[in-house]
């Protein structure tokens, strides 16, 4: 079976490596981006089954990445499946991201690795 490809966009290296560990451990192909700008380039050129996108990042934040992708039609063309990874919880920024077409959001601190995997699995299957 083809391993599903996931892009983890996370500026905190500790968390980035955590998600890489968890996801690769579960058998997924994982690519990473340390900030919004790199993420934007990778999304434009690459192909991902799921994108886990942080909001608060240097250079370009998650919202800006989404806005840009949407403005250039990339989001629609690639039929992107984006899930917000955040610690902001119920926030105006999250609400805004939801309006930009993301599929959902996960509050980082609330999930154990086991729960996270369950969520990822659900998003990939749905």
């Amino acid at each position: 079976m083809d391993a599903k490809k996931i892009l983890v966009v996370e500026d905190e290296t500790d968390l980035q490596s955590l998600y890489v560990t968890i996801l690769t451990g579960a058998g997924y192909t994982v690519d990473t981006a340390p900030d919004g700008a790199v993420a934007y380039e990778k999304i434009k050129t690459g192909k991902y089954d799921l994108i886990l996108l942080d909001i608060m990042m240097p250079e370009m934040d998650g919202i800006q990445v989404m806005e840009k992708l949407k403005a250039e039609g990339v989001a629609d063309a690639k039929n992107l499946s984006v899930v917000l990874l955040t610690n902001l919880g119920q926030d105006t920024l999250v609400a805004k991201a939801l309006s930009l077409g993301i599929r959902g959001y996960l509050v980082k601190s609330d999930y154990t690795p086991e729960q996270l995997l369950k969520e990822v699995k659900w998003y990939l299957s749905a």
């Binding site: 968390l15 955590l18 610690n87 926030d91 999930y111 154990t112 690795p113 086991e114």
Partner: protein, 723 residues
């Protein structure tokens, strides 16, 4: 002789009544017309008497007197008419056409009377003198009889239309008219025509006294007592005067007849007595008039003290503004007492409060120096007046002269002096008379009271202004404070938000790596390490919970906790929630069950927040149930309009005294600290639950007794299509 006596009495009565009524109110046209009527009637009586008893005895003479009678009579009709028309008002009703026609009627009739148009001649017929009517006799009849009749009708009409006092007054007028005519009929027409007796004819004209008496009474009716007193006084005065006149005239005539051989006849005595009566009676009035005319020639400041004081009282009682009050009072003094300059200074506790000069020669007058000089004069305390020409101290005199001050008056209230008035010389250049001083002594305290009132008023007004300003300043201060507080609050919220977010990132790493270590380590951990790491893991979990709660509370306090409502099936919702929670229940070896009495119950609410509520409640239950044999039951029922969720456990229960504050902020159950150590939460969980349930218009409560477990009950309104 009887004829003359009666006529004299009538003449006197008529004259007196006319004068009294006129003097009561000179400006009233009713009173003026009344006097005119009285005088006309008197003249008529006199002329009529002479025409009947002509001194010369010739027919020509008699004709002339008769014409004079007609002349006088011509005016009676118009006067009566005007009196009726005006009565009882002060002004003649302005109807120029009527006025002009009535007056011209009288004038034409009077003018014609003196020609042969009305009486062409006179002749003796059967021994009596009869005037021959001329062609214009009709004019006279219209002017006299016609106007009389019109007046009578007008009077009746007016009486019927009037009301109240006026009706009563008109009633007396009517009585007078009717009385007069009746009396005339009784004395002239009836005896002459019926009995052929003419002995009473001479009384006829005198009967007008009835009319005049009645009208006089009517005019004065509303001040009846006043009139009675006046009449009584006048009669006594006149009687005294008459006695004196008779004695005086008799004495004079006696001396005259003795010295010059003048005739001492009774008619002479009567004539001169009447003359002196008239002179004596009118002398006071004449004297006053002469005084009034000549006063400006002999006195330099003829002013009416009463008028001046009245005008000043008008100013002091009607003015509250200090400037206008002082200006007004000085204005009256300038205009009436004819002073040339004035100065006023007010002080309080030795301090200048206010001062103002009018035409004062030197504006540099120092009020302090003025008081000092005044005190030096040793007279200025209480109500003493300092006058220049009474000063003995040379230096004070010098000071007064320097500023051209004639007089200084203190302004005092309750013997406390709070200001002075300085007055310059009078326009006439003469010193102030004792009369002026008396007036000023009355003016000063009056002005003092007025000034005090004005000062008090000003003080209140100033106080109001100050108060307004201060309130404004305070309000502005509060507004600023409020703004900075709001800014501060916003910054605090921002801080909490960022801090929480920043805290959560490392906590996520700690928690997750601990989890990986505990659950996916290749090497088995030794028991002690495992326990230690588990404590670390749970502590990290607690810390994340606290951060979450802090964020939620911060939102609640900012009223920013908004619901994103949707309709959903509460049965499915709770079923899946319990399924999720079963994972953790299993971890904690808790037996979790869910049952519903209904297949589906739809509610409208924020499912994410409600999830938080039930998660919180379940986690609480998991914490407190006994290890290994924990039982948590979730039961959903529908009771009336509410979906009721009961979460029961078999934990230690909650003591009664703790139940009340369970849902308040930091309202944790007391024993949690001692017994459950690591299980302790932030104490915010239930508070948040209650807030969220409240937002859903629901209720949350607890039922428990110690050692018998606890049941948390959440009630949420059922969504009905009707609503």
């Amino acid at each position: 002789m009887l004829e003359i006596l009666v006529s004299v009495v009538v003449l006197f009565l008529n004259g007196t009544m006319g004068t009294i009524i006129f003097l009561r109110n000179r400006r009233s046209w009713t009173n003026r017309l009344f006097l005119l009527l009285a005088l006309l009637i008197n003249t008529y009586i006199i002329v009529n008497y002479i025409s009947l008893n002509p001194p010369g005895g010739t027919l020509e003479e008699q004709l002339a007197w008769t014409r004079l009678v007609m002349f006088v009579t011509s005016f009676i009709g118009p006067t009566v008419f005007l009196l009726v028309d005006t009565f009882p008002r002060e002004k003649i009703p302005t109807r120029s056409v009527i006025l002009a026609s009535v007056m011209s009627m009288g004038l034409i009739s009077a003018a014609l009377s003196m020609t042969d148009m009305i009486f062409s001649g006179i002749e003796l017929r059967n021994g009596s003198v009869v005037p021959v009517p001329g062609p214009a006799i009709l004019v006279f009849l219209v002017a006299f009889v016609g106007l009389f009749l019109v007046s009578f009708l007008a009077l009746i009409l007016k009486y019927r239309r009037s009301e109240g006092v006026e009706k009563a007054q008109l009633f007396y007028f009517l009585i007078g008219v009717i009385g007069t005519f009746s009396a005339m009929a009784l004395t002239t027409v009836i005896p002459t025509v019926v009995f052929g007796y003419t002995g009473l004819v001479f009384l006829g004209p005198n009967m007008a006294v009835i009319l005049l008496t009645c009208v006089a009474y009517a005019i004065a009716k509303h001040r009846f007592l006043d009139l009675k007193l006046l009449i009584f006084r006048t009669i006594s005065f006149f009687a005294l005067l008459a006695t004196a006149a008779v004695i005086y005239v008799s004495t004079m005539l006696s001396i005259g007849s003795y010295l010059f051989g003048t005739d001492l006849t009774s008619s002479n005595i009567l004539f001169f007595s009447l003359l002196s009566l008239a002179v004596g009676y009118s002398l006071p009035t004449v004297r006053r008039f002469v005084e009034h005319i000549t006063a400006p020639l002999f006195f330099h400041n003829p002013y009416d003290e009463r008028k001046l004081l009245k005008d000043i009282t008008d100013v002091t009682t009607r003015t509250i503004d200090l400037d206008r009050l002082v200006g007004g009072v000085f204005r009256e003094l300038f205009l009436q007492m004819r002073i040339t300059s004035s100065y006023i200074a007010l002080y309080e506790g030795g301090k200048d409060v206010w001062r103002k000069g009018f035409h004062f020669s030197d504006g540099k007058l120092d009020p302090r120096e003025l008081y000092r000089q005044a005190r030096k004069a040793n007279k200025i305390d209480a109500d003493k007046v300092v006058m220049f020409h009474e000063l003995s101290d040379d230096s004070v005199r010098e000071y007064f002269r320097k500023f051209d001050i004639e007089i200084i008056l203190p302004l005092t209230i309750k013997r406390e002096m709070f200001g002075v008035i300085a007055l310059g010389p009078k326009a006439s250049g003469e010193p102030y008379s004792s009369r002026d001083i008396d007036v000023l002594r009355i003016v000063a305290p009056e002005l003092a009271v007025g000034v005090k009132n004005a000062l008090a008023y000003e003080e209140i007004r100033n106080f109001n202004e100050t108060l307004k300003k201060e309130v404004k300043t305070a309000t502005a201060g509060l507004r600023n404070a409020n703004r900075s507080l709001k800014e501060l609050d916003a910054r605090k919220d921002e801080f909490i938000s960022i801090a929480s977010h920043e805290l959560r990132t490392p906590l996520t790493a700690i928690r997750n790596y601990l989890w990986l270590t505990l659950n996916q380590s290749n090497k088995p951990l030794d028991a002690a390490t495992r326990t230690n790491l588990e404590i670390c893991y749970h502590s990290a979990e607690r810390m994340i919970m606290m951060v979450n709660d802090t964020l939620t509370i911060s939102r609640i306090e900012r009223n920013k906790l908004e619901l994103e409502t949707e309709k959903f099936n509460l049965v499915e919702f709770l079923e899946s929630l319990c399924e999720e929670m079963r994972l953790q229940a299993n971890e904690k070896e808790v037996h979790l069950t869910f049952t519903s009495t209904e297949p589906d119950i739809v509610v409208k609410g924020d499912s994410a927040k409600l999830r938080e509520v039930f998660q919180n409640l379940l986690m609480n239950s998991f914490k407190f149930v006994p290890a290994g044999e924990g039982m948590v039951k979730v039961v959903l029922t529908k009771e009336q309009e509410y979906a009721v969720i009961r979460i029961s456990d078999n934990g230690p229960g909650i003591p009664k005294d703790s139940q009340e504050k369970l849902f308040t902020k930091f309202g944790k159950v007391n024993f949690a600290y001692d017994k459950s150590g690591a299980k302790a939460g932030t104490g915010l969980g239930l508070y948040i639950c209650k807030k969220i349930v409240d937002l859903h218009s629901g209720k949350i409560s607890v039922q428990s007794s110690e050692n018998k477990g606890a049941t948390f009950i959440v009630q949420l309104p059922v969504h009905s299509a009707r609503r």
